[in-house]
Structure formats: structure tokens, C-alpha cells
Amino acid sequence: MLESLSVIKASLPYLLQGSLLTVGIVIGAMLFGLLLGLAGAVGLVYGNRLVQVVLDFYVWFFRGVPILVLLFLFYFGLFNYLGLNFTAFVSVIIILGMVTGAYQANIFRGAILSLPRGQFKAASALGMSDIQAIVTIILPQVLRISIPAWTNEFSIVLKDSALAFVIGAPEIMGRAQFIASRTYQHLAIYMTAGILYFFLTWIGVSALARLEKKIRIPGYSC
């Protein structure tokens, strides 16, 4: 028991350093996914047939293949094949970003479809171009509506980021596994790792909940 505590104490700074990397991966992947998701949703709703077919394929592919397979496929396969020397950190951001982008595209698509259609019409009637209407009228509302679902997506990506250890990114899980295999303190170390993930989720979810409250439209819901 005492031994466990001292191992935790000794390895905590090392694990905390890993959590910085985890935070970096999650922020990078979520922002990349945000861009892909917004562009994807706009394309799925307003795009022509070709755009829709391409985006459908994108969404189906990244929703249908396990992240573990994608990590190996891209990091050891595609990136190597194309001669791209991405670090494990960058590779994980790209792949998790592509995966969450596919899910986020559907989150935002649902939000666009839930808006009263008349608002786009009214913007058009005033003389706004389609792009102006989407950027100034549709997306600001879509982003607000999507925060609860986006918060879920954040907590999922945060935990999926643990998979990064399989391609050698030294984030929380990678470091925990390294320590555990050396000290044989599996229970203590993985419990610490679990608690770190829990806290990161809690911080992120609380922050997003505050954001949701802050930009709520007065008079809308309660």
C-alpha cells in the first residue's frame, strides 16, 4: 500500500506532463473536427449532389471503422506510404479530428435542420447571398444549439485520445502503461490515470456548460 502511494507520488509529475499532451491532442482534434464538421454539415445540407456523395462517404468511413484500425492504417500505412513524416502527436490529432469531424458534421447537420426554414428565406429575401445567410444567420444559431451534443463529443474524444499510446504518443495512457510495466503497480497507476481522465473531462464539461449558459439567447427555453 505504502509502496503504491510512493510510486504514485513519484510518477505523478510524469503523468501530469502526459496530461498536457492529452489536452493538446483533444483541443487540436476538437478544433480540427469543428472545422470539418461545420463545413461538412453545410455541404450535406446545402451542397449539390456530388458534394453530398463525397461527404456521405467521408462520414460513413470514419464512423464505420474503429479508431484503432484508423490509427494503424494512417500512421503506419498511409502517412508512411505518402512519405509524410508526421509525429505521433500530429497524426493522432489528424485522425481523431477526422473521426470527430464526421460525428460533428451530423451534430451540426441536425442543428441546421432543426432551425425554422423561414430564417434562411428571410435572409435571402433581404438580398443576402447564400453564404452570407449561412455565416451570419444559420451558423451562429447552429453553434449555440449544438453545444450540449458537442460537449458529449468532447468527452468521447478525450477518452478516445487514450488510444494514442498504441502509436507511441506519450500522453497519459502511454506514460501510465510505461510506469506500470516497470513497477508492476498496475492498480495504483491505472487508477491514477483514470482519475486524471475524469478530472480533465470534468473541467472541460464544466467550461462548456458555462459557455452554453453565457451565450444562451434570452427568452429561449429556460
Binding site: 423561414g118 428571410a122 435572409a123 438580398g127 447571398s129 447564400d130 444567420i137 439567447i217 434570452p218 429561449y220
Partner: protein, 253 residues
């Protein structure tokens, strides 16, 4: 007073939706300061006609003339430019839910006319004053009553200085107490000489404003005439019959 060259005229507009003809060749003219009322049963094409007149729905065939110039749409940019000159009011207001009343009015000025934020807000306030809502500018649509929302929508359209205003059942979604305030705004616009065409079922409220009533049924204008001609007692016109039926309903209730 009506002038000689119509502000807006449409000729032989046709429109089908998936093979079902909705407009079967409709023509009408609006002279400066003229007010026309479109009535007729639902599904008769009133809404589609108004939307074609604003190019929210592209007509299959026919011509549109604005200020004596034929509108030729070859690219999307032409549509945007045309719509800026023709204001549209909808039955369900369609305010932008994430913007305050004043920003609803100002946003098009800023994004389309590229006016500075400060000037856009000054202009927006002026338009809100005109519809009697100068003190509600800071409220969001969800905090406004239906009548107030429609008045903001009118202010929003007017801020673009349209040459014509198309109103698609502007009071149909309002309860009787709120209809009055919207009608008052429409009256004020009429007194200012705004050219308007209005689809409505509440003919009694505005018949004294109208220069002409157009009765639409099954995609065609089947009757047209001044309110005096069409609505005189005992007139066998389709319009009179339709309005009698409306009046009966009001009496029954």
C-alpha cells in the same frame, strides 16, 4: 398617385412543383403608390406568386419588370441584387432568433449595404420608431409578441429601402388583438405612398386601402377590380361569394 410606368410588373408567370402547375400564367402590374390585395382560397397560388415576385422561387416562365427594366437572371448575383429592391414580409415573421430587434433590422444594412455598425444602428432605430418599437430594440424575438415581431420584420424590410413591399398574409398568424397594430403600420405605409401587394384573408380590415383586388384560384387571377366593384352587396362575383363565406364564419364565431 399612380404613375404611368409600373414599378413592378410580372407577365405570364408560370410555376410547377414536381409536375403540378401552381401558377398558370399570371400577369399583374403595380404602379407607384398602388396597393393591391390578393385573395382567394389556400393553394390558389398567392404565396407562390409573391415568392416568384421576389425570386425566392424562380418562375418557370414569364417576365418580371422593375422600374421599366426587364429583370434578367443569369447568375446568382443578379438574384441577390434584385431581392434587395423588393421587400418581403412573411406570415410567420421569420425574425433571426439570435439577434435583438434592432440587430435584426441592422444586420442586412451591415452585411449587404456594408454600412458601418454605428450608422446601421441609427437607421435601424429610425425604422423601429416608424413601427412604434423604438423602446424594444434590445429585446430578442422570443421576448416579443407576435404583433411586435411582425412590426420588426416590416422595419427590417423597410431599412433596405425597397421599391415594392410584398406581404404574404402578414396578419394570419396573429390573434385579433395584435392584428390591429400590424394593420396600423401597413396603413401608415400606405399613407406614405409605399407600393404594396398583400395576400390576405382579412380583407375587411384593409379593403379601404386597396386600389385593386385580385382574386386568385387554381393558379390564375380569375377576377380583378376595385373593392367597390367586387365587393358591392349582391354582386355575383366570385370575390363577393368568397368574402361572404368569410363573413359568415366570423358571424358564426
Amino acid at each position: 398617385m399612380p404613375q404611368d410606368v409600373p414599378v413592378l410588373s410580372v407577365k405570364n408567370i408560370t410555376k410547377s412543383f414536381s409536375g403540378v402547375p401552381i401558377l398558370k400564367g399570371v400577369s399583374l402590374e403595380l404602379r407607384e403608390g398602388e396597393i393591391k390585395i390578393l385573395i382567394g382560397p389556400s393553394g390558389g397560388g398567392k404565396s407562390t406568386l409573391l415568392q416568384c415576385m421576389n425570386y425566392l422561387v424562380a418562375p418557370d416562365q414569364g417576365q418580371i419588370w422593375l422600374d421599366g427594366e426587364e429583370i434578367c437572371i443569369t447568375k446568382k448575383r443578379d438574384v441577390y441584387a434584385y431581392r434587395r429592391r423588393v421587400g418581403m414580409i412573411f406570415q410567420d415573421f421569420n425574425l433571426f432568433d439570435h439577434l435583438t430587434a434592432i440587430d435584426n433590422v441592422a444586420i442586412a444594412l451591415r452585411k449587404i449595404k456594408k454600412i458601418s455598425k454605428k450608422e446601421a444602428l441609427i437607421r435601424a432605430l429610425k425604422e423601429l420608431e416608424m413601427v412604434g418599437l423604438a423602446d424594444k430594440g434590445h429585446l430578442y424575438p422570443a421576448e416579443l409578441s407576435g404583433g411586435q415581431k411582425q412590426r420588426v420584420a416590416i422595419a427590417r424590410a423597410l431599412a433596405m429601402d425597397p421599391e415594392v413591399l410584398l406581404l404574404d398574409e402578414p396578419t394570419s398568424a396573429l390573434d385579433p388583438e395584435l392584428i390591429g397594430e400590424v394593420i396600423a403600420v401597413i396603413r401608415a405605409l400606405a399613407n406614405k405612398g409605399m407600393t404594396m401587394i398583400l395576400a390576405t384573408h382579412q380583407i375587411g380590415l384593409i379593403r379601404n386601402l386597396a386600389h385593386e383586388i385580385l382574386f386568385m384560384e387554381q393558379g390564375l387571377i380569375v377576377e380583378r377590380g376595385t373593392p367597390g366593384e367586387l365587393l358591392s352587396r349582391g354582386n355575383p362575383s366570385r370575390t363577393q361569394g368568397f368574402c361572404d363565406r368569410l363573413n359568415e364564419l366570423y358571424d358564426e364565431n
